[in-house]
Symmetry: none
Subunit: 209 residues, 4 copies
DNA sequence: GATGAATGAGTATTCATTCAT
DNA sequence: AATGAATGAATACTCATTCAT
């Protein structure tokens, strides 16, 4: 959520940790601007206000810092969403909440969005964790009789793809309050809810900002 | 559908055309292997069995050849699908046919799939054409009372994303006959059909290979 | 004096000669535009409306065509000047006439000027012929008691340099009627005439155009 | 005056400066050997005993290093000549001294001569500074009644051309003690002095080496 | 002879990575 | 640990020249 997420995490820890975190934060902002392929080591160290050689005191190569940054962000986003979902029982509500919160968080932190979207392509392992949560909620919905769908990896891929479309649209254009409800409805339809119930389940969402 | 698609198109034409086509075919196979960013001019000319300088007799830069290749493939795929859809009136059947044929064609020509998937990211104009067809069929379905959905760009993005997920899954794993029906069902659900009708509309599909 | 000087020379001769001449004329205009270093074989053949391979049926390399073109032009310019000087006896008048005619001819044929100026740098042998004429006139002037100077190669270099400065100035700027008289005066001064006599000897010149 | 002029200037300064200077010195010697057009980045770094990539840590392109080198040399030459001219009042003596010192300096540093001669063609701005000094001295001579000439850019071009001829001659052949007096006389004649006075004003010059 | 496609050596430039200070 | 200069492999692109048709 913050431009200096990693530095905040390492506050109080040793100098080494702080330097490392500054590089991670710099990497995030550079990737947001230029993409993972376009990000150069020099861009990152410059953004961090350091000499380029410093990079290699903390990371072995570009891949390592990008992976670390992407995982760090994915972890933080998961953490935030988890926290807000603790008390929600209804599976449809859980899916809707997770989706809308996910979009809201990334809308508020476009740099993170860029890193996660780019990371999803370049770092296939990253999806796995995400899938665990998602699968749980969907299976819960099937058990509750709310969803009518076969739960498999391919389904999860589809759901994630829809969320990604929404995030990308959110990044690209100006805020559109109907975007989040739309994609939530789509997901619920995908999971087997009728259009009417899907709409109802999404009616209370306010798209962020 | 063939590894030498462009060469076949140019068979009988002059030497210049044949060389150009050989480069296009080489580009396709290189992109399939390394992606658009990873494809180097040298890779392409080597794959085509030519000197690197020859490339520049036919294209100005990587972008030009990749764009040409991607459009050429998109055109051919569209042509094939179009031909098969001429007589289908029912919008749901049209969507299902287009989707399943699209997946089938790309499953049989994985190199093409790679180029189109990569091209969809790098060549935004390429989506536009695709969208025109798609939008027509979906609007027809709404008019027919089959679909219950607001037709906008964001919706088209979602549908395309689902198809892309299917193609990617198809490329990645071994053939799974349930994959195409699954994604067709998902799309129909997205468009507002009930799970039951969606399933029925997809029941006759045989996933390719 | 003409854009197609070499073609005119070869008119009536065989096809081979005409093609060769077309290349020479093309070379002249390309060199005028881009300089000797900047002129590419392709530029020349394109300007001549031929395929690039044709070039090598007539010349071994770029150097050869440029040298041939430069010599051809130098020869033609010499010829014209010579013709006009036949009857002039007075050495000062000869020098003034040769200089002013030289400038006038090149002012009327800027392409030739570019080739000769560029050629003077790249083709040191070219100067030799020029020097023979010049030396004769200057020695005549010394014999006539008009000039007061030691005639050596270095002196000729100086005279030629002054002429070149005038031609360059003529090419660069808009016509200035005082330019030719000025440089003629300079040359006569260099050769040992008093400012007053030098001026008088140049007073009748009209700078070209 | 030295083969390592730039390195001497930067002696004692940081490593960065020293490397940069080594490249400048290398550039000077490469240009002396092959000319500005013929000088390749690789030639320069090789001559400096460095990897080619190092070049780009210090200069953006060939133009930048050549311009820097040419200006650096022009500055040093100007500085040396200026120092020796401070107390000379007589305009003719100033012109003669500047000219003969200029030739002497470049005769002792042929690499510099090559760079300045080439630079005069490629870097038109470089002439401007030179012209300022020259114009001042000539106008002074006119005011003193020593020179009889109209002072304009074209005149300066002529004077500079004569000096350049002398430098080139000096570079080409073996030392000729009469060369410098000769060109000085020529210049004074050009400026309107009589052959006799011109000769006298140059009589004391000893051509270098 | 003319053609023009193919060639490949030559050159500039970028950038991840190393390493002496 | 931090620095930042140096490195050199990788890559795009140009263009004189060759040669089969």
């Amino acid at each position: 959520m913050h431009d200096r997420h990693f530095q905040e995490l390492s506050a109080g820890r040793g100098k080494r940790e702080r330097t490392r975190s500054a590089l991670l934060d710099a990497a995030v902002s550079v990737v947001a601007e230029k993409g993972m392929d376009g990000a150069k080591i020099t861009d990152i160290t410059t953004a961090a206000g350091m000499a380029n050689g410093t990079f290699y005191n903390h990371f072995n190569d570009k891949d390592e810092i990008l992976r670390t940054a992407a995982y760090g962000i994915a972890f933080e986003v998961s953490r935030q969403i988890d926290a807000e979902m603790e008390e929600i029982e209804d599976a449809a509500a859980r899916v809707v909440t997770a989706t809308s919160r996910f979009i809201a968080i990334l809308a508020a932190a476009p740099d993170w969005a860029a890193v996660l979207l780019d990371g999803a392509d370049h770092l296939p392992e990253m999806r796995k964790d995400l899938y665990k949560y998602l699968r749980g909620d969907i299976e819960r919905g099937v058990a509750q009789g709310k969803f009518d769908v076969e739960v498999n990896t391919f389904l999860l891929d589809q759901v994630v793809a829809l969320v990604a479309v929404a995030v990308r649209a959110r990044l690209r254009g100006k805020p559109d309050p109907s975007l989040t409800p739309q994609v939530c409805e789509s997901i619920l339809r995908l999971l087997g809810m009728s259009p009417a119930r899907a709409r109802k389940a999404c009616s209370h969402i306010a798209s962020p900002r």
